[in-house]
């Protein structure tokens, strides 16, 4: 456990140090400090990906469960690593971009790579709806509001981060605790698919499901049909409540933004 923690911390410390260095604090856009931060982020991601390869006791680590991102070296493994790399790197660029437009565009990059990861797990409907709803609607609405609210480009408050070091330290602690707890759970809990849960047949892109206990409903509706069945039978009340929530949000947004006030306070 201690070994594992040191390894993870060894990869997380450069990640959040690089984030701290990349945060905007005035100065030129392409300063050497920013490049150093980007290099640290890339280094930590490479460390995270290649843990089992670089460690001398790789085989032992894999059998005892201490290897972090260890997978069978297949094409899907490489696909996962590439997509996860793009996702985390785009997230780092998103939270450090000085222009909010670039932040929104990097966020859509995160969404695209996450959709690829969903496809890898066989969640095809979720991947498609993430691209359509998130990248197609939400991010575009963000861009509209950014262009409404910032007609003249960069503002001063975009060029200075607030409490950058403490924030990066918080992120380091948060991710360290999360990953350590995860590792502890993976070592101590009995593993394997939970018996009694209805399983999908193993026909996703990655055939990782060893489940053979076929539910008849899921056997006849292996793909998005099964998802629809579950949404509109077991979860139908939740679907109705979500629809009510969306209606309330639409009414609330019209009430908030559609109201034109005559008096406008100018604050400084």
């Amino acid at each position: 456990m201690a070994q594992f923690s040191f390894r993870v911390l060894g990869a997380l410390v450069p990640l959040f140090l690089g984030i701290f260095l990349m945060l905007p604090r005035g100065g030129a856009d392409r300063s050497p400090i920013r490049w150093l931060g980007a290099a640290l982020v890339v280094l930590s991601l490479v460390l995270l990906v290649t843990f089992p390869l670089t460690s001398a006791e790789g085989a032992v680590a894999e059998s005892s469960g201490t290897a972090l991102w260890s997978l069978p070296q297949t094409l899907s493994c490489y696909t996962f690593h590439a997509l996860a790399f793009v996702s985390v790197a785009a997230a780092a660029l998103m939270i450090t971009a000085r222009n909010p437009v670039y932040s929104a565009l990097w966020f859509s990059m995160v969404l695209l790579s996450n959709s690829g990861l969903y496809l890898l797990q066989g969640a095809d409907f979720l991947a498609a709806s993430t691209i359509i709803v998130y990248a197609g609607a939400i991010v575009v609405t963000f861009l509209f509001v950014i262009m409404l609210a910032q007609p003249n480009g960069a503002a001063r408050y975009d060029r200075f981060a607030r409490e950058g070091f403490l924030s990066a330290l918080t992120g380091l602690l948060l991710s360290g605790v999360l990953i350590a707890a995860l590792h502890l759970a993976m070592r101590t809990e009995p593993r394997g698919p939970v018996a009694g849960l209805a399983s999908r047949p193993a026909d996703s892109v990655v055939t990782i499901h060893s489940a053979a206990n076929g539910n008849s409903l899921l056997a006849t509706h292996p793909h998005v049909g099964g998802l629809g069945r579950m949404l509109f039978t077991e979860q139908v009340v939740s679907v109705e409540i979500t629809g009510l929530l969306l209606l309330a949000a639409v009414v609330g947004a019209m009430l908030i933004a559609g109201h034109r006030t005559e008096e406008t306070h100018v604050r400084k």
């Binding site: 990640l15 005035g26 939270i95 996450n114 503002a155 200075f160 948060l174 991710s175």
Partner: protein, 163 residues
Amino acid sequence: MSGNDAWLNNYLVLGALLFSLGAVGFLTRRNLIVIFLCAELMLQGVSTTLVGFSGFHGTWGGQVTAIFSLSLAAAEAGVALALFVVLFKRGFSLDVSIWSDLREEDQPPVEDEPLGDEPVETPRQWPHLAPAGRLPERRPGVSGEQVPRREAVAAGEGVARNG
């Protein structure tokens, strides 16, 4: 560690990283819109975790929950962006620190780090489209004084700008 466990572990680690990065951005940025984008990034981390569990157990439950969180994010974005438009109309700025007087009455004001006194960077030069074709001639039947397009645009550009 079997293959299933490794996949689940990978998705959970990725979800934790995305969540933490979103938290860092949420804490450290000053622009309201970027703060909200970082909250969406945290939601993405949670969705990744849910999809990882869904694949691990081979059930639909995680995906269904991820779809609910997706629609929740859409509703949240609608209301929050409406709020940002109203706030920008009132304050001409998206800086969070100018809204600190919305706090509770008995709370002391938060002392923020002062912004640097560096001048706002010069506006970028955007590319111009090369002129193509020619203006259509005005038909004699159409009456009315039309404001030339360029002047209308120039008059609309006097929006106050804040730094």
